[in-house]
């Protein structure tokens, strides 16, 4: 299992292929890629702040919990911080398992926890200035199902 927290851009496809190449025994690989969205047709930039040290520990703990709950062959989390351009990948979760249900469940679990429990804060840089992204109630509610 691997956690990568980095400022530099990453290639989601290359990350998926690299991950899938190391999961002998797995029949299922689920990935989630978060992209910088455009707002109303105009690509926004994004600035992501995080809490070095806590970030890595928090994500590693989520992965340990996922590995305890589902039969996983491997898992990977990549998350960027700093300045991101519109359309760029923000982060990626990849999970491999023998059958698909485990990989889907673990990927959703990791995403729900990353959204609300990993110390990242997003600021959208739009034409009208910078705005901190507000946490969504749905994201907090999503945690209740686990």
């Amino acid at each position: 299992m691997q956690v990568v927290v980095q400022a530099k851009a990453f290639d989601a496809g290359a990350a998926l292929n690299g991950f899938a190449a190391g999961v002998a025994g797995a029949g299922a690989v689920v990935s989630f890629t978060g992209l910088v969205r455009d707002n109303g047709g105009r690509l926004a930039a994004m600035e992501i702040e995080h809490y070095p040290g806590m970030t890595e520990k928090a994500i590693a703990s989520m992965m340990d919990q996922a590995a305890a709950r589902w039969a996983l062959v491997d898992a990977l989390v990549i998350h960027r911080f700093g300045r991101l351009a519109g359309g760029e990948p923000i982060m990626m979760v990849a999970v491999a398992s023998k059958h698909r249900a485990d990989a889907f469940q673990a990927a959703e679990f990791l995403m729900d926890y990353l959204k609300s429990r990993a110390p990242f804060w997003k600021k959208e840089l739009g034409p009208d200035g910078a705005t901190w992204v507000a946490a969504r109630d749905e994201d907090e509610t999503a945690l209740e199902r686990w």
Binding site: G34, E49, H50, Y51, G53, M54, K57, A58, H79, I90, M91, M111, L114, K115, S116, R117, A118, P119, F120, W121, K122, K123, W132, V133, A134, A135, E140
Partner: protein, 83 residues
Amino acid sequence: MKLEVIYFAWVRERIGLPRELIETRAQTVADLVTELRARDESYDLAFADLASLRVALDQELGSFDAPLAGVREVAFFPPMTGG
């Protein structure tokens, strides 16, 4: 007791600095918040709505009534928006 106090996102922006070393006798996070709010208006404003804030003690999420005994690093920040 010496505490490293760290601020993130709009908490950092309102207070105007990312971190500071504080000498305090606060027993709990809530005590520390009271102490900080008394400093000046920017602190008072940053901590005006505790429901919109989260706190981490030594890099673990905690609560505002948690004791500070043995803690070295306290971080204040808004709800996280990762992923």
